[in-house]
C-alpha cells in the first residue's frame, strides 16, 4: 500500500496519522456530550484509548497487546465502578464507550478504520438517546457531517492528506446531504412509526421531578433544579384570570405533615357532568419523569388517549412516562357534588386516639363558625402565627407525620410550600372540613415569541383544596399567607404577559438594551426548541396516524401502509439495481460487426456460431459474388481492427470509418441482373 507504515510485528498499517487524527477528533468530540450521563472516568478512558492509538500511529509501531488488555480491564473496571451494572441506558452507553475504545486501540487495517467510523454513528446515536436537547441534536448533526467528511476523505484516493481533499470533501458531503434532504424528509414523515412500547426499552436513570407523595423536603429538592418539566400551549384561549396551577397528583391520605395518594388511588373520577364555563384546550409537551402523572392546567376535565382521570381530577397515564410525551388536555372549572365516599376519604384521620397531639386538636377546635369562617381563621393563623418561609427547614428524622406536624406548628414554624400545604390540609380535616393536598407546578415562564409557557422543575409546588358546601372544591394556597413567601408564589399570568410585552418595564427594571436582547435571544432559542420538540421529537405513531388521516390514508392501517411502502421501496431498489447492473453495451467495433451480421442475415446468410470473419466472408461471397467488392475489404478491415498485433496501434479514424461503411452497406435483396 502506498502511504502505509510498517508496524513492529510486521503488520502494515493502511491508516495514516492524518486519518487517525480525523477519526480521533470526531470521536472525542462525540464522546464529550456524554460525560454527564456516563461519568467523567469513562469518557476519560475512551479519550485515553484514542490518544494511545494516535501515539501508536505516530511512532508507527501500533499499540502493544499488553496496553490493549490493560485498557480493556481498566475500562471494564471503570464502567462497573461508576455504574455498578450494565443494564439500562447509561451503563449501556458507558460499556459501549469502553469496548469502542479497545476496538480503536487495535485499529490497523483500512477495514478496521471503516468499522470504527461506522461505530462512530452509534456514538452519535448514544448522544441522541442521552439527551434530546436541541443543542445536542445540533452538535450531533455537525458531527454527522464531519463523520461523512472523514469517510469521504478516506475514500478520496492516495493524496488524501491534502487540503484539496478537505475542500472537496466539505463541498461534496454538504451537497450529498442537501440532495438527500428530500429522501430524509420523505422517510421521516412516511416511514411507519412504531407505537409506544415497541421493542426493548432501555430505561433511563430516574430523572428528578415531582413525586407522588408529599413529605417535608420532597419539593425543596426541586427548587434548585432548573431543568424543564413541561411546556404548554393554549389552543384558542388566553387564560389570564387566575394564577397558573398545574395539577399533578391529588393526595387523599393525610398523615400530618406527610401526605399520600391513599388506598383509593385507582378510583376514577365521576363523569364530567354539570360543567361550567368553557373548556381550556391545551397542548402539553411533558418531559420524561419516570412516573405516571400527566400535568394539566387545574383542573383537568379530559385527558389524552391512554390516560385516566383519577378521583380528585388528575390525569394518570396508563404507561410510565419514560419518554417525552406530547398530549392534549382540556381543563375548566367544575362544580360537582361530593359523594359520600369522597367525603369520607376527605375527612379521614387516624383512628387511634394518641396519634394526634392534644395541642393540635385544641388548635383545630379553636376555629369556630361556618366552614368558610374556619378556612379564614386558619389562613389568619398561618399569616400571623409567626411562620416563616424558608428553603432549608431542616430534617425531621424518622418520625411519625403527626409528630412532625406538631413540631412544625408549635416549635419550628419555618417551612416550604410542602409543609404549609400538608399542615393546612391536615388541620382542615381536624376542623371537620373535607380537604386534600395537591402536588403539581405553579407559575411558568411565558415565551412571547413561541407563544407557550415553560414550566421548570423549580416551579414544583404543593397546595390544598377544601370542600365548601356552596362552592365545591376550593383551592387554598397556604404558602401565599406566609410572610416572606410572596416572591415564591406563582406570578399571575397577566403579570407575566405584561412584563414581556411591555418592554419598557423590563428595561426599566433591569437596565440596558443588552439584557433585553439576551432575553429575546433566549426566548427565540426556546421557541425554536419548542418547534423542534413539537415537529421532530413529538412526531410519533399517533401524530403520524393523524397525518396519514389528514392526507386521505385513513382507510388503510399502518401495517398496510408499512407493507406497501416496503414493497414500493423494494421495487424502486430492484429497478435501480437492474438499471445499474444492466449488461454493458458492446464496444463500437463489435456493434458494427453485429450490425453487418444482421444485414447479411436479412439476406438469409446468418453468421453461424463460432464462424470466423474470414470463413463467414468466404461463405457469403460464394453465395452472392456481386457483394465481393464491398464485403471483402470490409471483412479484412474488421479482421485488422480486431486482430492487429499488439504492436500496431489502430487509429481511431479507421474504427469510425469501418462503422460508417457498415452503416452505409445496403445490399440488394436479390442478385441484380447483369446489365447487358
Amino acid at each position: 500500500m502506498s502511504g502505509g507504515r510498517r508496524f513492529g510485528r510486521g503488520k502494515v498499517s493502511e491508516v495514516t496519522l492524518g486519518d487517525g487524527l480525523w477519526l480521533g477528533a470526531v470521536l472525542i468530540a462525540a464522546s464529550l456530550p456524554l460525560m454527564g450521563a456516563v461519568g467523567f472516568p469513562v469518557v476519560a478512558c475512551f479519550i485515553t484509548a484514542i490518544l494511545l492509538f494516535l501515539n501508536g500511529l505516530r511512532e508507527a509501531k501500533g499499540v502493544s497487546r499488553l496496553v490493549l488488555w490493560g485498557m480493556l480491564l481498566i475500562g471494564a473496571g471503570v464502567v462497573w465502578f461508576v455504574h455498578g451494572s450494565v443494564v439500562g441506558m447509561e451503563p449501556g452507553v458507558a460499556l459501549f464507550l469502553g469496548l469502542f475504545g479497545v476496538k480503536i486501540l487495535e485499529l490497523r487495517r483500512a477495514r478496521d478504520y471503516r468499522v470504527a467510523l461506522s461505530l462512530g454513528y452509534f456514538l452519535l446515536l448514544c448522544n441522541l438517546f442521552i439527551s434530546s436537547e436541541l443543542s445536542v441534536s445540533l452538535i450531533v448533526g455537525c458531527l454527522f457531517l464531519v463523520l461523512g467528511m472523514t469517510l469521504h476523505r478516506f475514500h478520496f484516493g492516495n493524496a488524501r492528506h491534502g487540503s484539496q481533499a478537505l475542500r472537496i470533501a466539505t463541498g461534496q458531503v454538504a451537497k450529498i446531504l442537501v440532495q438527500g434532504a428530500p429522501i430524509i424528509l420523505l422517510l421521516f414523515f412516511f416511514f411507519p412509526r412504531a407505537p409506544q412500547g415497541f421493542g426493548v426499552q432501555l430505561f433511563r436513570k430516574q430523572t428528578t421531578g415531582m413525586s407522588d407523595e408529599l413529605r417535608p423536603g420532597t419539593v425543596e429538592e426541586l427548587v434548585a433544579d432548573g431543568s424543564l418539566a413541561f411546556r404548554v400551549r393554549f389552543l384558542g384561549y388566553d387564560p389570564k384570570q387566575s394564577p397558573y396551577y398545574w395539577r399533578g397528583v391529588v393526595l387523599w391520605q393525610s398523615r400530618g405533615l406527610e401526605w399520600y395518594r391513599g388506598g383509593f388511588r385507582d378510583m376514577l373520577a365521576q363523569g364530567t357532568t354539570g360543567r361550567q364555563g368553557r373548556w381550556i384546550h391545551q397542548e402539553v409537551i411533558l418531559e420524561p419523569h419516570g412516573g405516571y402523572w400527566l400535568l394539566a392546567l387545574d383542573q383537568p376535565l379530559m385527558g389524552p388517549e391512554r390516560s385516566r382521570l383519577q378521583l380528585g381530577r388528575y390525569l394518570l397515564s396508563r404507561t410510565r412516562v419514560d419518554q417525552r410525551r406530547l398530549y392534549e388536555a382540556f381543563s375548566g372549572e367544575l362544580v360537582e357534588p361530593l359523594s359520600q365516599m369522597e367525603r369520607a376519604m376527605a375527612l379521614r384521620l387516624p383512628r387511634d386516639e394518641g396519634a394526634i397531639s392534644q395541642r393540635l386538636w385544641d388548635l383545630a377546635d379553636s376555629w369556630k363558625g361556618t366552614p368558610r369562617e374556619k378556612v379564614a381563621a386558619a389562613q389568619r393563623f398561618f399569616s400571623s402565627g409567626g411562620f416563616q418561609y424558608t428553603l432549608s427547614s431542616g430534617g425531621y428524622g424518622h418520625r411519625d407525620g403527626w409528630e412532625m406536624l406538631d413540631e412544625f406548628i408549635f416549635n419550628r414554624k419555618v417551612g416550604f410550600c410542602s409543609h404549609y400545604a400538608a399542615a393546612y390540609s391536615s388541620l382542615m380535616r381536624m376542623a371537620g372540613i373535607p380537604s386534600r393536598t395537591i402536588i403539581g407546578y405553579a407559575g411558568g415562564e411565558w415565551n412571547p415569541i413561541g407563544g407557550f409557557y415553560s414550566i421548570y422543575q423549580s416551579d414544583a409546588h404543593a397546595w390544598s383544596e377544601v370542600w365548601l358546601e356552596d362552592e365545591g372544591w376550593v383551592r387554598i394556597d397556604p404558602t401565599r399567607f406566609v410572610p416572606g413567601a410572596a416572591g415564591q408564589t406563582p406570578a399571575l399570568p397577566l403579570q407575566a404577559v405584561e412584563e414581556e410585552t411591555a418592554g419598557d418595564a423590563v428595561q426599566g427594571d433591569f437596565g440596558g438594551e443588552g439584557f433585553l436582547q439576551m432575553r429575546r435571544l433566549s426566548y427565540q432559542w426556546a421557541a425554536i426548541n419548542y418547534r423542534w420538540t413539537l415537529w421532530v421529537l413529538g412526531y410519533d405513531h399517533d401524530v403520524q396516524r393523524e397525518f396519514f388521516n389528514s392526507i386521505g390514508l385513513y382507510r388503510f392501517r399502518t401495517a398496510t401502509i408499512f407493507l406497501a411502502s416496503l414493497l414500493a421501496a423494494g421495487a424502486v431498489m430492484a429497478a435501480l439495481w437492474w438499471w445499474l447492473r444492466r449488461p454493458p453495451a458492446a464496444e463500437p467495433l463489435e456493434m458494427a460487426y453485429r450490425q453487418l451480421g444482421l444485414k447479411l442475415a436479412r439476406l438469409g446468410m446468418e453468421r453461424k456460431p463460432g464462424e470466423t470473419p474470414a470463413a463467414y466472408c468466404e461463405r457469403v461471397v460464394n453465395l452472392r459474388p456481386d457483394l465481393r467488392p464491398v464485403l471483402e475489404p470490409l471483412f479484412s478491415r474488421y479482421a485488422l481492427l480486431r486482430y492487429a498485433p499488439w504492436k500496431l496501434a489502430v487509429p481511431e479514424e479507421d474504427l469510425a470509418g469501418f462503422c460508417r461503411e457498415v452503416a452505409a452497406f445496403k445490399p440488394a435483396k436479390t442478385v441484380p441482373e447483369p446489365v447487358a
Partner: protein, 345 residues
C-alpha cells in the same frame, strides 16, 4: 481507442452490509425509544447511501483509460529437473525486468465532477503496485504505470481493464470495465547464461566477414521507429518501398547463428538458455540470429532485433504441444498463435 462508456457495474462490499446494519439498528433503536432525532440519523444515512451511490456512479462515468504501452519482461526462473544449475544472466549485474509494466493514460473527460479514489486492476493479472490512481479533478489526466506480478513465459492478453472505486463513502463499489480488445504482450523466458551453445558452424564461415563497424555496404535492414534516419535508403523510399536502413560492415565481426533443432534438453530449458545467449550477444554488440524449424533464420542486432527474437521465444508453444511434433513442424509457432485466439473468442 477504447472508449469505455459501457460496462459499469456496482457491487456490494462489507461497507454496504455495515451501512445496512447501522441503519436497521438505528431505526430499531429509534422505534423502541420513540426518538425522532434517531430516526433523522438513520434516514440521513439512507440518504447518504442513496445519493452516494449516484456520486460513485458518476465518479467513474466520465473517465477514459487507454493503454499507452506494455513493457515486456522476463519470466521468473522455472525449475527444470535433470539439468545442472546454470549461472543466471542477471547475476552479472544487468537488470532483467521480471515484472511486466503497463503504462496507461487516464483522463477525466467530463465537464463537471471528478474521478477520485480509483483503484485500477487488470482482470486475470495480479497488480503489484501502481493500482491506486491519484485524484483527478474535472478534465485532468494522468499517466499510471501498473506493475504486474511475475508471469509465466508466453504471450498474454490484456482483455480488459477495470477501474473500481469505493468513492464517496465506501458503501458501494463501482467498477468500470473497459475492453482492451485482447491486447497481447509477450513474457520472455527467464534468461540463463553460461556455457557454450552449439552454433551453426557453416553460418559463421559464410557471413563471418560481415560487421557493423566497417564502411562497406553489406545489406539493407528494415527501419525501426526511433532510429537515426541517416542511413535510410531514401531512394528506395522514393520508389515506394518501405523504409530501409543501409547497413555497413566489412570489419571482422563475429556472427553467430543458433539452430533451435540442434539444442539439447527440454523446451523451457532451451528457451531460457537461448534467451540468455541472445542477451549476451546483444550486450557484446555482436550480430546474431536464431533459426527456427520451418522458418528462415533472421540475423541482425539492436534492441528491436533482440525484442523480435525474444518474442519468438515467448510465443514458442508450451511443452504439451511438443507431443505432436509433426503438427508443430508443419505450421510452426504461428499455428498456435492463431489457434489460441480462436479459442479465446
Amino acid at each position: 481507442m477504447n472508449r469505455g462508456r459501457a460496462g459499469r457495474s456496482c457491487s456490494m462490499t462489507a461497507g454496504t452490509w455495515r451501512l445496512l446494519a447501522i441503519i436497521v439498528a438505528t431505526i430499531y433503536a429509534a422505534a423502541s425509544q420513540n426518538n425522532g432525532p434517531a430516526y433523522l440519523l438513520a434516514f440521513g444515512l439512507v440518504a447518504m447511501g442513496c445519493v452516494g451511490l449516484l456520486y460513485g456512479w458518476r465518479n467513474l462515468a466520465e473517465v477514459e483509460v487507454r493503454v499507452i504501452e506494455v513493457m515486456p519482461a522476463f519470466a521468473p526462473p522455472v525449475a527444470v529437473t535433470g539439468e545442472e544449475p546454470a549461472e543466471e544472466a542477471a547475476a552479472d549485474g544487468e537488470e532483467v525486468p521480471e515484472r511486466v509494466r503497463v503504462r496507461l493514460a487516464v483522463r477525466q473527460v467530463g465537464e463537471r465532477g471528478g474521478c477520485y479514489g480509483v483503484r485500477l486492476s487488470l482482470p486475470g493479472f495480479e497488480v503489484v503496485s501502481g493500482a491506486e490512481l491519484p485524484p483527478l479533478a474535472t478534465g485532468e489526466a494522468c499517466e499510471a504505470v501498473v506493475t504486474l506480478a511475475p508471469l509465466p513465459r508466453g504471450v498474454h492478453r490484456l482483455e480488459e481493464i477495470a477501474l473500481s472505486s469505493l468513492y464517496p463513502f465506501g458503501f458501494l463499489q463501482v467498477t468500470q470495465r473497459t475492453s482492451l480488445g485482447g491486447r497481447e504482450f509477450p513474457v520472455y523466458p527467464h534468461p540463463v547464461s553460461g556455457g557454450e551453445l552449439p552454433l551453426r558452424a557453416d553460418f559463421g564461415d559464410r557471413l563471418g566477414t560481415e560487421g557493423v563497424r566497417g564502411d562497406d555496404f553489406v545489406g539493407l535492414r528494415r527501419y525501426q521507429p526511433g532510429e537515426s534516419q541517416r542511413h535510410v535508403d531514401w531512394k528506395a523510399v522514393a520508389r515506394g518501398h518501405v523504409m530501409q536502413v543501409k547497413q555497413f560492415g566489412g570489419d571482422a565481426l563475429k556472427v553467430s547463428l543458433l539452430d533451435w533443432e540442434n539444442l539439447p534438453g527440454e523446451v523451457e530449458w532451451k528457451l531460457s538458455r537461448v534467451a540468455g545467449w541472445l542477451l549476451e550477444k546483444e550486450k557484446a554488440g555482436e550480430r546474431y540470429g536464431l533459426a527456427f524449424p520451418g522458418g528462415a533464420p533472421s540475423l541482425g542486432q539492436g534492441q528491436a532485433h533482440l525484442a523480435d527474437l525474444l518474442e519468438r521465444l515467448a510465443r514458442y508453444p508450451a511443452q504439451e504441444a511438443r507431443r505432436d511434433p509433426a503438427a508443430r513442424r508443419r505450421k510452426g509457432w504461428s499455428f498456435l498463435r492463431r489457434g489460441k485466439r480462436e479459442g479465446a473468442r
